[in-house]
């Protein structure tokens, strides 16, 4: 009698079966990973910045992306409005009452989040702290620091040695903090008079949590909580926005804009910017260096095919510069254009005694300095090589030691990829910040890449001191032409300010200065 052989489950079969069951169990979980990781909670707005917000103060640095958040916590006497003119914030009167004297009156009822009032003493202390801090970006805009003379509880005079007719523009960047809590450094915490207060801050990761200031003196903001995150990788910001993890991302390259365009849940905002991005020469070269020769600087600019860069690399998201500051600034004039003419470049280099292969340049930049920065630098490398100029690229990651290099203390370089923001909206302050260097400032390396040209400095000094608007504009225009003749840049362009947001974010009005009023933002859902 034979027994039918019962089907046996071998050990291998059992293992296979187990593996299949485990796979089936894990698969749905893996599928979940592909979906959104969870959006912000209702009533919370999440911003993802491309630069690390190391502080909610701006004494040392003022990145475009940071301005929106900084102004939500601390405020200035004025702000630069959409028309690039000063608008009152903490002050309701800001008036030039004498050539060297401004009369300022604080708005009735302005107070900090702890309920204490804003006083003229806080303004005086703020100016003193900004003056004392070393290496400040904003300090370069001030030809001299005004003195505060209180008149009464709300009114005070701002007095200067020489006329300073753009003081109302400049004061838009001096953030006011209670005098007792202020210090000559970037403040990490503390209170402000803005519509939000800081409830959590991590300087290392660049994350901040802001909560609505219930004691705000103005209209209460609609959004209860704002989370600020630092996402340096553009692709990460784009993916986070698409998945709904963040609500607003800024500084978007044209290629990322292309990825976001047409998505039903995402909207793009774009306005002409006030920032100028430059390939700026190092003006700290010895006199016998080729770059100290203006003909060489001019010749190198003919090697750069700006049209190609604008149309193909930057996909029309920028405007080629036709001057030494952004053309959107008040008082900016056209001084010339960057022309692509490689033959002329070679001829001029040869006339300056530089043959093919004789000149080798080091180009440096920090990742994220401007959208598509790396692509632009690599494209320029090939363009320069085509006229016989060797190029070495040196890229710095954010947080690296490029600030030392900028000051000429980290190492030698020839051209820097650099962006210069003009938060005041006027050309004269931008010119002062970039081209108003003096020999004294250069001793402490506080000039813009060593740019010290006495003729330009003199013109700017005269322009700053000129009370008559027309005469001042004439001097500003003359200064711009004088700067252009020195060929400070190999190439420059003005990027549009671009921002992407989820559709649930309403009331966000991106301004030319690449910031927006956070208090005006609303959330649907």
């Amino acid at each position: 009698m034979t027994h039918p052989r019962a089907p046996r489950l071998s050990r291998r079969g059992l293992l296979r079966l187990g593996a299949a069951a485990a796979g089936a169990a894990v698969l749905p979980s893996l599928g979940a990973c592909a979906g959104p990781t969870g959006g912000p909670s209702p009533g919370t707005l999440v911003l993802a910045l491309n630069r690390s917000l190391v502080s909610l103060d701006n004494k040392l640095n003022q990145f475009d992306a940071a301005v929106t958040v900084q102004r939500a916590v601390r405020q200035a006497l004025t702000r630069i409005g959409p028309e690039l003119t000063p608008e009152p914030v903490l002050a309701d009167r800001f008036e030039l009452t004498a050539p060297t004297e401004w009369t300022v009156r604080l708005r009735e009822g302005v107070r900090y989040s702890d309920g204490s009032p804003v006083t003229p003493g806080d303004v005086a202390t703020a100016l003193e702290m900004y003056r004392q801090v070393s290496g400040s970006f904003l300090a370069t805009f001030f030809p001299e620091w005004p003195r505060v003379e209180p008149v009464d509880d709300r009114t005070f005079l701002m007095v200067t040695e020489r006329p300073l007719p753009v003081l109302d523009y400049l004061m838009a960047n001096i953030l006011i903090t209670p005098a007792a809590a202020n210090a000559p450094e970037e403040l990490q915490s503390g209170i402000g008079s803005g519509p939000y207060t800081v409830t959590a801050a991590n300087r290392g990761t660049g994350t901040y949590t802001l909560r609505r200031n219930d004691a705000y003196w103005g209209p209460a903001p609609a959004v209860r909580t704002v989370d600020v995150r630092f996402l340096p990788e553009e692709s990460s910001r784009v993916v986070s926005l698409r998945s709904g993890e963040v609500d607003v991302i800024d500084t978007i390259s044209p290629d990322s804009a292309e990825q976001l365009a047409g998505l039903p849940e995402v909207e793009m905002e774009s306005v002409p910017g006030t920032r100028i991005n430059q390939l700026f020469y190092n003006f700290r070269k010895p006199p016998d260096h080729p770059l100290s020769d203006v003909r060489v600087r001019e010749a190198l600019s003919y090697a750069v095919d700006g049209r190609r860069l604008v149309e193909d690399v930057l996909v029309g998201s920028v405007t080629p510069a036709d001057g030494v500051v952004a053309s959107s600034l008040s008082g900016a004039v056209s001084t010339g254009e960057y022309v692509h003419d490689p033959r002329r470049a070679r001829e001029m280099l040869a006339a300056a005694g530089i043959g093919a292969g004789d000149l080798n340049l080091t180009l440096i930049w920090e990742t994220g300095e401007f959208a598509s920065d790396t692509t632009v630098m690599e494209a320029v490398l090939q363009m320069l090589r085509e006229v016989g100029v060797g190029v070495t690229l040196r890229q710095f990651e954010p947080g690296g030691d490029i600030p030392l290099w900028r000051q000429g203390r980290g190492g030698d370089w020839d051209v820097i990829g650099n962006g210069f923001a003009t938060p005041t909206g006027v050309a004269i302050t931008s010119l002062q910040g970039m081209y108003g260097g003096t020999a004294e400032r250069e001793e402490t390396r506080d000039t813009y890449h060593g740019y010290v040209v006495p003729e330009v400095t003199d013109l700017l000094d005269r322009a700053y001191a000129e009370v008559d608007a027309e005469a001042r504009q004439a001097l500003v225009a003359e200064a711009q032409h004088a700067v252009w003749r020195t060929w400070p840049c190999m190439w420059a362009f003005v990027p549009n300010s671009v921002l992407a947001r989820r559709r649930r974010v309403r009331g966000l009005a991106l301004e030319t200065t690449n910031c927006y009023d956070l208090a005006a933002v609303r959330l649907d859902g």
Partner: protein, 316 residues
């Protein structure tokens, strides 16, 4: 109990020309399904699959300069991000209109050069240090072992990034740091192999014959452990390539515009939703190479294990 002869010739019937075989119930099918046979087949399959995968990447990379492809840094801004197989670009083009195949192949040259140099250096350091520690023992062993433990307790990638940040991202620096990062594995294995070998009679015999300790180590012990240690070094090649790609991806690779696999992927990730090939194709190359080298190493290791007893029989 009776014994039946198996029907299959391999299991009992005399082979036509060979010697008569022992009758057995083990059929050819049983033999084919046996664990040893399966492992041998699997090792052979891994060997071949690994060789094919690795060669699919290594051969084109090695011949990159001879292939009719554009230069790796040749830009055509009017041909940005062309899809694969468009306008004669097999892998498409990148964000600067550079041929992606050329970038991947030349990037592979950089990655493989760094990887090979790094494993050679780490192999030499690891084998020498491990052999010395295992054979001499005492303070040499203590010193090498503590060094190994100290280094293995450090976070590897952080350490590499720190060294590259300090000394600059050049090919020699990257090669050196990867080599330094990998020597502990080789050293540990070599030490354990030498510990076994030094107790064997042939070592005593060599000592009795008057050879010095160093001579015994170099002439007798090292040749006996070199083969197995070399296999580990081969496996480290995959890890070295991955490390180089990771460093490049994190911005610590050779200076631009030099192409490396990690950098191509890092640059391409900004376009991942519109130009998939910028990330996928170089990623595929890394996967092929790493999987190939690992399979090859596994296959060779298994083959080496199988051969050892056979050799003993031959000697006997």
């Amino acid at each position: 109990m009776t014994t039946r002869s198996a029907p299959a010739p391999a299991a009992g019937a005399p082979a036509p020309d060979g010697p008569p075989q022992r009758p057995s119930r083990v059929t050819a099918r049983d033999l084919a399904r046996a664990g040893a046979t399966r492992r041998r087949r699997s090792a052979t399959a891994r060997l071949w699959a690994g060789a094919v995968c690795a060669l699919l990447v290594i051969v084109p990379v090695a011949l990159a300069d001879l292939l009719p492809i554009p230069g790796a840094n040749e830009q055509h801004l009017d041909q940005r991000r062309l899809a694969p197989l468009v306008d004669g670009h097999l892998f498409g083009t990148d964000q600067l209109g550079r041929d992606l195949l050329a970038r991947v192949l030349h990037g592979g040259q950089v990655s493989l050069t760094i990887g090979l140099l790094a494993v050679v250096v780490s192999g030499i350091i690891g084998i020498l240090a491990g052999a010395a520690a295992g054979y001499f023992g005492g303070w040499v062993d203590a010193l090498v072992s503590r060094l190994l433990e100290a280094q293995m307790s450090l976070p590897l990638l952080m350490m590499l990034l720190l060294v590259v940040a300090l000394f600059g991202p050049s090919v020699p620096v990257i090669t050196f740091v990867i080599a330094i990062a990998q020597w502990p594995e080789v050293a540990r294995l070599t030490r354990s192999l030498v510990l076994v070998e030094r107790e064997k009679p042939y070592v005593d015999a060599a000592r009795v014959l008057g050879l010095r300790r160093l001579g015994v180590l170099v002439r007798h012990v090292l040749p006996n452990v070199a083969q197995r240690a070399t296999l580990v070094v081969l496996l480290l090649l995959a890890q070295a390539v991955l490390l180089e790609s990771a460093l490049s991806y994190l911005g610590a690779g050779p200076e631009r515009p030099a192409a490396t696999w990690g950098r191509i992927i890092a640059d391409g990730q900004d376009y991942i939703t519109t130009s998939w090939w910028l990330v996928t194709l170089p990623g595929l190359c890394i996967v092929l190479l790493v999987v190939g080298v690992n399979l090859l190493g596994d296959g060779l290791r298994d083959r080496t294990r199988r051969r050892r007893p056979a050799r003993k029989e031959a000697v006997a």
